[in-house]
Structures are given as structure tokens and as C-alpha cells.
């Protein structure tokens, strides 16, 4: 009656289960045939099945963006995620303020509706592309590509992407950034890290913002930081008060380092996107214009 084409790897248990089911050990109707698809090489590692993993497709779209923006145009890209009101916009404003005058910055800002965030960035004199996501709960690579049409990549040194306020959905949709920074604030409750462990694991750095009012809301910052280090070992945490401009030096230094380390250790970027995939990187292909004369006062 039916033929079943099976994409599984050489993994005895699932194959056995499938074959048991298909070849008459149970009630399956009619003769069935199991076919393994496209994996002639039994040695290949689990994780390289880009075609079969739907989520890897999203990661690949992010890779293409990364290739285009970071490698072809030499732009440093950082993405900021976090709940609505965590302080993403204020943080990016502060980073823009302290940047040297000759650093050309662009911002892609995703927001459910309106242009409030975009307007704030425009008032700082940077190029801005606003993306209204509406009922879409996260930015995805295609939305970012659309936004890039409003920016001049040849002119930019740095691109900040502010994701939609959301602690759930953006996790599976990397955008090709060299640094994914998750912004949480003391006012969200000091258990916020433990509530979103997979999201922390998907990011490169965490900001604990609004530290100046942590006491007022009974938030234990040490606890939050230790939660991050248990859940996402080796991921740096930065305590900030974006409103007062505190704690930005270390964050800015981290972003700087991500940009320059990336030039030399592309595997670190690839490994951290959460889905292993073959990605050849030829160091000679870097754009030359990747210089950042940051002065940190």
C-alpha cells in the first residue's frame, strides 16, 4: 500500500523501531518499505543534516545574512534581544552616544507597531530601518533583509539590530549577528534567567540592566548572575544601568572583542549559533575595512 522514505541516520534504535512498525510486527496495513534518504555515508555526524532539520534552515538564512553583511561589507553586527521594557533601546542609544564620530552606525529596529524606537535612533543621527512586525513575534532573516534595503551597507561600520520585545520566540531565529546580547532587567524578577534557560544558552552575552533600582524591587543581582553562569557557562554577564550610562565600558569592550575575535576564530561564531553546519571560511576573504578606532574614556 505505502512506501515510507526514512531520513534517519544509522541509529539502530529508531531504525529498528521504524522497521518493526513497518514490517509486520504490529497492525500497520499492507506491505511497507523503509527507505533511507540521501545519507549514503554511514559515518556522517549527526547535525549535518541541514535539509532535514527545519530549524537549521533558519540558521542557514542567518548565515547568508552574516556572509553578506559581515564578510562582504565588513560591517560589525550585534543583535539585542529581551523583554519589552528591558532597556534594549536605551542601551543601544548609549552605545551610539559613546562611539567615535567617524564610526558609521546603522540600526534595524523591530517593533510590534509604531516608530517610537526608530525615532529615538534617528534623533541621534544614525541610519535607521524600522520593521513593524505586527503579529509576527520575532525578527527573522527575511525581515532583516528587507530592512537592509533602507541602509547603505557600503557606508556602515556597525549595525545594531534590536529585536522585538520577546523572551520566547527569537531564540530559534538567529539573525547572523557576531554577538547576540540578551538584555534582562532587575525589574523583571530575579528568576527571569531560570525561566528562559534555552534563550540564554542561545546567546553570546547577557546584560542585567536597571541595576540602580534592583534594591527597590528586591532583585538579587548576584543570584541572577550566578544563574546565568550555571545555565550558560562561560557566557559573560554585564551589569548596567543604561539610563545612567553605567557599566557600558565592559559591554562595549566585549562587542569590540567579538568583532575582532571573529576575524580570527570564525568557528566560535558558527559553534554558537546552536546548529552545527558546515561553513567554510576563508580568512583571506575578509573585507579590509574592518577597523574600529574605539576610544574608551
Amino acid at each position: 500500500m505505502y512506501q515510507t522514505y526514512d531520513f534517519r541516520h544509522h541509529d539502530a534504535n529508531p531504525i529498528d523501531r521504524l522497521l518493526d512498525r513497518l514490517l509486520g510486527e504490529n497492525d500497520a496495513p499492507g506491505p511497507l518499505q523503509a527507505h533511507r534518504m540521501g545519507h549514503g555515508d554511514g559515518d556522517h555526524e549527526h547535525g549535518e543534516d541541514a535539509e532535514a532539520d527545519i530549524l537549521a534552515q533558519f540558521a542557514e538564512q542567518a548565515d547568508e545574512l552574516h556572509e553578506r553583511v559581515v564578510h562582504e561589507h565588513g560591517v560589525f553586527v550585534a543583535e539585542f534581544l529581551g523583554a519589552t521594557g528591558s532597556g534594549k533601546t536605551r542601551l543601544i542609544e548609549r552605545l551610539i552616544e559613546r562611539a567615535p564620530d567617524d564610526q558609521e552606525i546603522g540600526v534595524i529596529v523591530g517593533d510590534v507597531a509604531g516608530e517610537d524606537d526608530a525615532t529615538r535612533f534617528r534623533e541621534q543621527g544614525v541610519s535607521v530601518a524600522n520593521v513593524n512586525t505586527g503579529k509576527e513575534c520575532h525578527l527573522d532573516p527575511s525581515l532583516v533583509e528587507g530592512a537592509l534595503e533602507d541602509l547603505d551597507l557600503d557606508a556602515l561600520d556597525t549595525l545594531y539590530i534590536e529585536n522585538v520585545g520577546n523572551m520566547v520566540c527569537p531564540a530559534d531565529f538567529p539573525l547572523g549577528a557576531q554577538a547576540r546580547v540578551l538584555v534582562v532587567s532587575a525589574t523583571e524578577g530575579d528568576d527571569v534567567v531560570r525561566k528562559h534557560p534555552l534563550l540564554f544558552q542561545a546567546c553570546d552575552g547577557a546584560v542585567i540592566n536597571k541595576v540602580d533600582i534592583a534594591e527597590a524591587v528586591n532583585a538579587d543581582l548576584d543570584l541572577m548572575e550566578s544563574d546565568v553562569s550555571e545555565i550558560a557557562p562561560e557566557m559573560p554577564t554585564f551589569r548596567t544601568s543604561a539610563e545612567h550610562g553605567d557599566g557600558l565600558d565592559k559591554l562595549a569592550a566585549f562587542l569590540d572583542e567579538r568583532g575582532h575575535t571573529h576575524d580570527h576564530d570564525h568557528d566560535a561564531y558558527v559553534g554558537e549559533t546552536g546548529h552545527s553546519h558546515a561553513h567554510d571560511h576563508d580568512d583571506n576573504s575578509h573585507a579590509d575595512g574592518h577597523e574600529h578606532a574605539h576610544s574608551h574614556d
Binding site: Y2, Q3, Y5, L19, H46, E136, D172, Q201, D227
Partner: protein, 140 residues
């Protein structure tokens, strides 16, 4: 919310796989959802049911959604299913190697994969040319 767009991509992949084997329609799919992915298997199943339409087959699409545990390998030689982080309020794998304390990354368990597609017999390739049933059971 994004389970629906994942569902439509799964069905698209199934359509392509069926077409690769000469069939316009498919009767069943098996999807594997990693425990450490952000995909909710129940929601995905609901979305697959909702997204499947009459172009797929005459009857209802037979949908099986399985889950797959996290799996990691460490440079030190350790491999296996990481422990769950007890302190976390939602599931997450412990990304510290139990042997050497280094950070480990998942090799599996964070994916959402189309595992098999069942097409009507006679619609596909000539019988026997693609059949790998005996080989499929023997590990390399």
C-alpha cells in the same frame, strides 16, 4: 506561533521528498522535535494538522511527532545526554561536561526534523530500486 511556520516548512519538505520519489501526494509524515529546541511538539502536531490540506492526500494525513533527547560530545571524550539543569524553571540541558567541566555544545536534540514520508505505493519509483531495508538495520 512559529510552530505554524515550522509546520508549513515541514510539509513543504515532505512535498519535495514525495516529489523526489515521483509522488504528488503523501499519506504520512514523522517529525522529530528535539527536547532542547524551542518547538512545542503538541503545538507542532496541531499546526501540522491545520496546515495539511487536500493536496496532500485523500484521507487525513497521518502525523507522528516524536521527541529526541539532547546529546552532546566533549573534546575530553565524554558523550551522552546532558543532565537537566534542576534550578532552571524550564527544561534546559546542562552544558557543562560532567567529566572535565568544560562547556559543551549540543550535537543533537535541538533540531526539528522530518524523519520520514509515506507515499502511496505505485506512485513512486519502481519497486526495489531504492529499497535499503536490510542495510538500514546494520550499523556501520
Amino acid at each position: 506561533m512559529h510552530e505554524f511556520s515550522i509546520a508549513t516548512q515541514v510539509l513543504e519538505a515532505a512535498r519535495e521528498a514525495a516529489a523526489d520519489h515521483g509522488s504528488d501526494t503523501f499519506e504520512g509524515i514523522t517529525v522529530s522535535v528535539g527536547d532542547a529546541s524551542h518547538v512545542n511538539p503538541n503545538q507542532l502536531e496541531t499546526c501540522l494538522e491545520a496546515a495539511a490540506d487536500s493536496t496532500i492526500g485523500d484521507g487525513e494525513l497521518d502525523i507522528e511527532v516524536e521527541t529526541e533527547p539532547a546529546y552532546a560530545e566533549c573534546d575530553c571524550g565524554w558523550s551522552g545526554e546532558p543532565e537537566t539543569i534542576d534550578r532552571a524553571l524550564a527544561y534546559a540541558p546542562d552544558l557543562t561536561c560532567p567529566e572535565c567541566d568544560e562547556r559543551i555544545e549540543l550535537a543533537a536534540g535541538n533540531e526539528c526534523k522530518l524523519m520520514s514520508v509515506t507515499i502511496p505505493d505505485g506512485a513512486g519509483d519502481s519497486a526495489g530500486t531504492e529499497e535499503e531495508t536490510p542495510d538500514a538495520t546494520s550499523p556501520d
